[in-house]
């Protein structure tokens, strides 16, 4: 048994099936999407190569820009809810001595409810006919003038469509941050306290920097997820009314599957891919501190010298 774990070839054999599956089910469709973005096809008949025509159309398309900015608005709300509220809850949880597991489980439950169920839940809450719980509450506490049809009011629909997604995964990020916070070396926090830091300073100056790696991971997950957000906005409003709550993914779906423009839909998909990659690169750069960059540069130099010396 030990022999296998040490054998490098064995690693490859065990990794190969998963790798092949990943290539076939993820990589290949992405490559096909990129290929499709240079093609015009309506689902029937021959595919026509059109070069960059789809991309030119993309940058002239007003609705695409609407979808792009809407997506950024959606992103801000979703990231704000999932990271900030998730972190806040995790920090509060670290001060709790009893019932931690119960709270964690309860807060995690929204993650495991299906998207459609979450959508129905929020649809009923936002409704006017029959009156949903939000409007009922507003009227009950005397703020009836704010009661509106949340999903059809063009001023509120985008925010209302973003909130369910944010709410859904807050629990998951709370659990991740909590695990990171309690795994920190308590001696470091002790040392900080001895040096005179109060609770808030310990949190901001000591604990959070120590979970930087986890932060990077969660931000990557949240940001790329928000850029690809689809299921809840699609089922709630389908981008409507008009294109007011249109996101890039719902617009892509509309163009490809409702409008029968598979080439153009693929172009939008490629844009989403490139945007997500860019965001991750930017994140990596931001999170790599100056010292780390200096260290890496030195290591690179040393390797180069070693190779030359050989």
């Amino acid at each position: 048994m030990n022999g296998i774990l040490k054998n490098k070839k064995a690693f490859l054999v065990f990794l190969l099936p998963a790798l092949v599956f990943y290539l076939v089910s993820v990589f290949y469709p992405i490559a096909e999407s990129i290929r499709f973005s240079f093609i015009k096809w309506g689902g029937l008949g021959p595919k026509q190569f059109v070069g960059l025509q789809n991309y030119v159309h993309l940058f002239k398309d007003k609705i695409f820009y609407t979808a792009f900015w809407n997506n950024l608005g959606y992103l801000v709300i979703v990231v704000g809810m999932q990271i900030l509220i998730g972190l806040l809850l995790a920090v509060l949880l670290t001060y709790l001595t009893k019932g931690v597991t119960l709270i964690k489980t309860l807060y995690y439950v929204p993650c495991i409810i299906t998207a459609v169920a979450v959508t129905q839940l929020f649809r009923s809450m936002y409704a006017t006919q029959p009156e949903g719980i939000i409007n009922q509450l507003l009227k009950a506490i005397g703020l009836g003038q704010f009661a509106t049809s949340w999903l059809t009011n063009v001023k509120t629909v985008l925010v209302c469509v973003s909130i369910p997604e944010g709410w859904r995964y807050t629990g998951m990020y709370m659990v991740i941050f909590y695990a990171a916070l309690i795994s920190l070396d308590p001696e470091v926090c002790e040392a900080a306290r001895i040096d005179g830091a109060n609770g808030w300073q310990t949190l901001i100056r000591v604990k959070l920097p120590m979970i930087k790696e986890v932060m990077l991971l969660t931000l990557t997950m949240v940001l790329t997820g928000a850029l690809r957000g689809f299921d809840i906005p699609f089922v709630l409003t389908n981008g409507g009314p008009g294109n007011v709550s249109e996101l890039m993914s719902t617009y892509m779906y509309k163009k490809a599957f409702a409008g029968n423009q598979f080439g153009y839909g693929s172009t939008i998909a490629v844009f989403i891919i490139i945007e997500s990659i860019l965001v991750v690169c930017v994140l990596k750069v931001l999170f790599t501190g100056k010292d780390e960059r200096e260290e890496r540069r030195i290591q690179k130099e040393q390797r180069r010298m070693r190779r030359k010396g050989k």
Binding site: L44, Q129, V154, F257, Y264
Partner: protein
């Protein structure tokens, strides 16, 4: 270790091939023929039940060696997307539901659909159908590739009590209709409830004025790129739509079919536009005198008259040329022979001429509507989503909601529709 792995792999390969061979032998035996119907009809609705009943009868008569598999997707936009995806992937079902849309024309051009008009003529079954039911299924060039299974008139149902309480009469003209709405609105009543979620009920209102002015000529020209949304007829349509849109219930864009209808039947709105397929739901209120209906009001100087409004034969049934063999043809003929009576017995209007079954009692409402259908004019309003290409249709559907609430203005809407039509014309 290596030897054991090789042995294990060999064993798996042998067992695997034996299992596969076994399956193939099983398939070679005589299996019952299955015809798949990818349907866009509500499950357990009248059509679904009628066809299943007929299929069961047919299967019994053929000793169970034939059966119909029905796969349903009742939400029309999802159905169309799924259908398009199936066809793009080369998996077109044997029987599908489709309107005579530009997409249907593409399927016809690719030779994928059976020429139903020719088929009915060849089999001598053409005259068994109501002429308007067939005319509705035709393309503008007179060809027909879909079979009608329904026959409907659409009307505006109104609450008699609310009308009486507010001293308003049934409107005869479009202007009178707007006046009635205004009076009701002033009195604090919701004049009209409408289902915004499904989009098509809202688009009906947009199509009304152009139909009155030109019949279907305007929308035909528009969909073919020979007219603009900004032409006078288009603008008249938009202006009427904007005026009547003010009288829809608040938040109509998020109200679904069932809720809009329930609002009307509960007396929370004064009027509701829906077709005779909801007779069963309207029955009770009609019988105790709470509700009644009127047809689309007229417009002075209009092309189409009072007995001309939306008469349709619903989404049609189309057949895959590849699988339209003798057995399927026999089944289709069987449907045409038996469908009329069974469907009428479910309190529905049948597109296939038949006598009413004697063993079923028909209500006054049913008989009245049936009479009306015998008096319709030559022109019938064909829904815009049957003419427009998928992309323009989506643009119109999405933005009409904003137009009705006043969140976009007439010119913006005209630009959006014209751009979408331009894209279609340029073959984008």
């Amino acid at each position: 270790m290596k030897k054991r792995m090789v042995k294990a792999l060999l064993a798996t390969a042998v067992i695997g091939s034996v299992v596969m061979a076994g399956n193939m032998v099983a398939m070679a035996d005589d299996e019952p023929i299955t015809v798949t119907w990818f349907a866009s009809r509500p499950v357990d609705g009248a059509i679904d039940l009628a066809i299943r009943q007929i299929a069961q009868q047919y299967s019994d008569e053929h000793d169970g060696n034939w059966n119909l598999e029905v796969i349903t997707e009742a939400d029309r936009p999802s159905y169309l997307q799924k259908l398009q995806t199936l066809i793009s992937g080369g998996n077109m079902p044997d029987i599908i539901d489709i309107d005579a849309t530009p997409y249907c024309q593409e399927l016809v051009d690719a030779g994928m659909l059976v020429d139903v008009k020719q088929y009915l003529n060849d089999e001598g079954l053409y005259d068994k159908f109501e002429p308007t039911a067939l005319a509705y299924q035709e393309f503008t060039n007179g060809t027909m590739y879909t079979l009608p299974l329904e026959y409907h008139v659409e009307m505006i149902w109104y609450n008699k009590e609310i009308f009486a309480e507010n001293n308003v009469e049934v409107p005869k003209t479009m202007d009178e209709w707007l006046d009635v709405c205004q009076k009701l609105s002033d009195a604090g009543v919701t004049p009209i409830s409408v289902d915004g979620v499904d989009r098509w009920p809202v688009i009906r209102y947009l199509a009304m004025m152009p139909f009155r002015e030109t019949g279907n000529d305007y929308i035909i020209d528009l969909s073919e790129g020979n007219a603009s949304m900004g032409d006078q007829t288009g603008r008249d349509g938009i202006e009427f739509f904007q005026k009547i849109g003010k009288y829809f219930q608040e938040g109509f864009a998020a109200t679904d079919y069932a809720t809009a209808q329930a609002m009307f039947l509960d007396g929370q709105s004064a009027m509701y536009y829906i077709g005779d397929w909801e007779i069963a739901a309207m029955q009770e209120a009609y019988e105790n005198g709470t509700i009644d209906y009127f047809y689309l009001p007229t417009q002075e100087g209009a092309l189409t008259g009072a007995n001309e409004f939306c008469v349709n034969s619903g989404i049609g049934m189309a057949f895959n040329t590849e699988t339209f063999d003798e057995k399927t043809k026999d089944f289709v003929n069987y449907i045409i022979e038996n469908y009329g009576k069974i469907y009428a017995g479910m309190d529905q209007m049948t597109p296939i001429k038949s006598d009413l079954p004697e063993d079923h009692e028909f209500s006054d409402l049913y008989l009245k509507v049936r009479d009306d259908m015998g008096n319709i004019g030559e022109h019938f309003l064909k829904p815009w989503d049957c003419y427009l290409d998928s992309n323009t249709c989506t643009v119109v559907n999405d933005n009409a909601l904003l137009l009705a609430t006043g969140d976009i203005d007439e010119d913006t809407f005209v630009d959006m529709v014209d751009s979408a039509l331009e894209e279609y014309k340029s073959g984008f």
